[in-house]
Symmetry: C2
Subunit: 302 residues, 2 copies
Amino acid sequence: MLDPKRLQALQAVATTGSVREAATQLGYSSSAISQQIAALEVDSGSVLLEPAGRGVRLTPAGELLARHATRIFEQLAQAESELMALNAGQLGSLRLASFASAGAELVPPALAQLHARLPGLDVTLRSEVPEEALALLRRGLIDVAVIEVHDEVGGDGLVYTPLLTDVYRIVLPRGHRLAKRRTVALADAAGETWIRLGNHIGCCRRNTLAAFDRAGFTPTFVIEADEFWPAQGFVAAGMGLALLPSLALGVIRSDVVTRPLRPDAAPSRDVYAVTRPALSDTTAVKTAVAALVDAAQRDVVA
Amino acid sequence: MLDPKRLQALQAVATTGSVREAATQLGYSSSAISQQIAALEVDSGSVLLEPAGRGVRLTPAGELLARHATRIFEQLAQAESELMALNAGQLGSLRLASFASAGAELVPPALAQLHARLPGLDVTLRSEVPEEALALLRRGLIDVAVIEVHDEVGGDGLVYTPLLTDVYRIVLPRGHRLAKRRTVALADAAGETWIRLGNHIGCCRRNTLAAFDRAGFTPTFVIEADEFWPAQGFVAAGMGLALLPSLALGVIRSDVVTRPLRPDAAPSRDVYAVTRPALSDTTAVKTAVAALVDAAQRDVVA
DNA sequence: GTAACTTACGCTTATCGTAACCATA
DNA sequence: TATGGTTACGATAAGCGTAAGTTAC
């Protein structure tokens, strides 16, 4: 295989017309260029340069190689410029997965901001439960995962950025006796019936059960809702009360009300943006995570 | 500028899927590949490889560079294959110049043979006097010159290949007293009148004058012909005799005859194929010169 | 005589391989 | 425990520059 470095020397001679000027252009001595081309002549098995007056001239073989060299270095320059664009987040794609309630409330404004800042980025979003999102992340099929967790995170080689702590609120039918209070102690609702959350909705079920446990009673479940929206419906229908995370309460039925729980007793889930170390320094991922942090901040304030 | 050698390492990892196999493919140790890519990561300012299970995976930046690397090395391979074709004479062009009488008799069969052997070669022919042909050769505007010379040749940095010695013959009107002889001694024609050759026709004029001088008489010129064909006409018209080179006698008028001169007295011109050293080893030029030698051989025999 | 290219030669520097180390399945 | 990747380090060889040699104007 012909050595590109040597081709570059030849190409410089072709464009400048002399060994001396080629050396100047490339920052070498004439000797270096002369030796490069001599080596290239051995490699290619052709005479590439011939004396012409006091200078040199390219042979047909030399012209042919110089022509190709030009194309090769153009290609190389294009690779560099595309890489710059990729590094700047002006090019390429960003694949994101989030759990359902974040995908509805947190992610859309974040992606809007991301798109405003990096219009050239091809952003795709899918909805996945946390474990699946992490698996996809590890397999390189997505670049950023927005997940909910309860335990400590990290130590698994992934990069976690905390977004917000999503506090559970109690959801009551309008006119319920507890609706008069600004905050509700879970123990005061010990006699109520409850809407249970489906097992597949992240870790909400385990989360709420732990809260009942801390409140000192075992709840009576009358029905199971497999999504957050039907859960509100069951509450409105008077079948029972529900504990739902704030992120799932972006839209609240007019015939139900929500109240915060006493802080010490309130269950919560932590929301993180996760990525791989190799991507964590790219502009695309950094901008995306920053946008998520931003959106989370505004969500908490609101 | 990104180092192509390092890009090659990355591309090998991209195609094989592992550092180890890439090393095997390129004939290096794993360590070398790892170091190449580490260096490329510094050059490019991007993470290109990330751990994936027990092996590695390319990042988007890595994929981008690998993609470009593929194109670059394809281009390089194409350059090599075109160069091979050029070296084999299956590609490219061959520009040839010859003096007029060779261009009529010697060159056409040679070029026919050249075309048969190297059909891919783009051959062009122009007619030039020897000095001009040599000047064009030196300036790189032609590749092979077919010239006539009288003095010794060489020592000027060009490569000379002798083709033939073109002997002058005496041209007589049919029925002339000297036409009965098989060979003519120039001294026997001392009393005749002569057709002078134009100054621009190579070196024929000087050549013939020297022959008269050797024969011991000064010829009486009655008219000057600026081409060989009219010279035959003047002879046929009975205006005088002429000395013309054999190569110019490919076509002979029916009302004139030609006879060889006594060997010791016969003037002659030497015909050479000339090229530049840088081209003398190329298949195209070697084949062309060989074809000229071949044609000259057949011409002499005939 | 001068300008340009090439050749010779010593030295710097890049880069490879061996071997030890680390991580993963 | 074995496989694949990376890091450390010594050895090798490629490639540069200086300087002398050669050729053309």
